[in-house]
């Protein structure tokens, strides 16, 4: 049986932990708001980019001089999985669920006899994947030192990807991130980056006939690499919002659990204290009766 002092210490330590998780929850809530705003602010750019590219791409017939970023290499043998996770933990199942989703896809592809490689953004996913697929991770981009995510970060990643694509290291690139739905729901999502895909245009919306300057193919050559960067940027922002959402609910749970534990421990503490008092009283009374 733990002594009263042990119990007191235990309660104090749980209280300290509760304070930390509470503080982390509030910090995550504040940062989540900022991350959400950033994700919203980035939306118009990505949407416009998508619609213009979709417009051009749908009007083009695939030929031999179509940029490879759009048409693909024509093969489906080597896959690159770009897995975006966070740099820090204490965020519930956030990283695990992204990694699990990527892993399921990877195992499916490997089962079909395809060649799978990983490109990791964020330390946490790298640590998990490294154990499962040693030697298949080609690169890790560490964003730990980045304070606010800028478009520059996304462009650097996109440049590395495109560079590897141009060297013929892979045929298909898929991006994995967590789509932010709400604080309690972040959905691991896969999106094909290369070859580029565009949502089907809504029926009935007549596309205006545009004049292009320079040629359509040149615009495509200029825009497709940019589009990769934009998609990566969007994924990073979504991921960040998801991370804070996930962290917030994880810390909320932790705070509540700590509260429960404090209640339970306090009850045990009080019971033990009373039992001790009762025991002492019995001892005094039986001592007095013996006289």
């Amino acid at each position: 049986m733990a002594s009263l002092k042990d119990l007191r210490n235990r309660i104090a330590s749980v209280k300290a932990t509760q304070k930390i998780t509470k503080a982390m929850q509030m910090v995550a809530a504040a940062k989540l708001r900022r991350a959400q705003l950033a994700a919203e602010a980035a939306r118009p750019y990505a949407e416009r980019m998508e619609s213009v590219l979709g417009n051009i791409a749908s009007g083009m017939t695939l030929s031999s001089d179509t940029p490879l970023l759009l048409s693909g290499t024509g093969k489906d043998e080597k896959h690159m999985l770009l897995v975006c996770t966070s740099e820090r933990g204490l965020c519930g199942a956030f990283n695990t669920s992204i990694v699990r989703f990527a892993r399921e896809r990877a195992n499916l592809l490997i089962g079909q006899g395809k060649d799978v490689k990983f490109f990791c953004v964020g330390r946490k996913g790298y640590d998990q994947l490294r154990r499962l697929y040693p030697g298949q991770i080609v690169e890790l981009v560490d964003l730990r030192s980045v304070r606010t995510l800028g478009f520059v970060n996304a462009r650097e990643i996109a440049e590395k990807i495109i560079d590897r694509f141009n060297k013929g290291e892979f045929d298909v690139c898929t991006l994995f991130y967590a789509h932010y739905k709400s604080v309690i729901s972040q959905i691991p999502t896969a999106q094909q980056l290369i070859p580029a895909t565009f949502p089907e245009k809504a029926e009935g919306v007549a596309a205006a006939v545009y004049d292009y300057e320079p040629e359509e193919s040149e615009i495509l050559a200029d825009l497709l690499p940019r589009n990769v960067a934009v998609q990566v940027f969007r994924a990073l922002l979504e991921n960040q919002a998801s991370f804070y959402g996930s962290q917030m609910s994880a810390m909320d749970n932790a705070t509540r659990n700590a509260g429960d534990m404090i209640k339970k421990q306090t009850l045990i503490y009080n019971r033990t204290r009373q039992a001790q008092i009762t025991k002492e009283l019995i001892e005094i009374i039986s001592g007095a009766e013996a006289l």
Binding site: A41, F151, Y210, E213, E218
Partner: protein, 139 residues
Amino acid sequence: MATFSFELVSPERLVFSGQVTEVIVPGTEGEFGVTAGHAPFISTLSAGILTVKGDGADKRLFVRGGFAEANPAGLTVLAEQATPVETFDRAALQQLIKDAQEDVADARSDESRQKAERNLADLQQVAAILDLGAAPAAH
């Protein structure tokens, strides 16, 4: 004068949105002006100064990388970077010029060298314009 809606969007945020009378855009194949009722048109951007004419004084912004889309609904410019000239940092421009010079030196194929040289020339022109713009304000 007839106005039309103009949006300037950078990846991070919506930089400008409103009704304007004329916008001058630095396109890859030369500057072009857009007024209300412009024909549907898409062009890529080169590094340069974008001028917005509307109510009051003209706004001038440094833009780089991206494209402009004019359609009956208005004009949308998507630029990788869009900074008002007033807050634009000269040191940043110098850095860009230096990067561009390195790109020219590093370029392997003729095509990429041509591109890099164009970019460098554009940036130097911006620097020249900005310095000219700054001179009258100095005295």
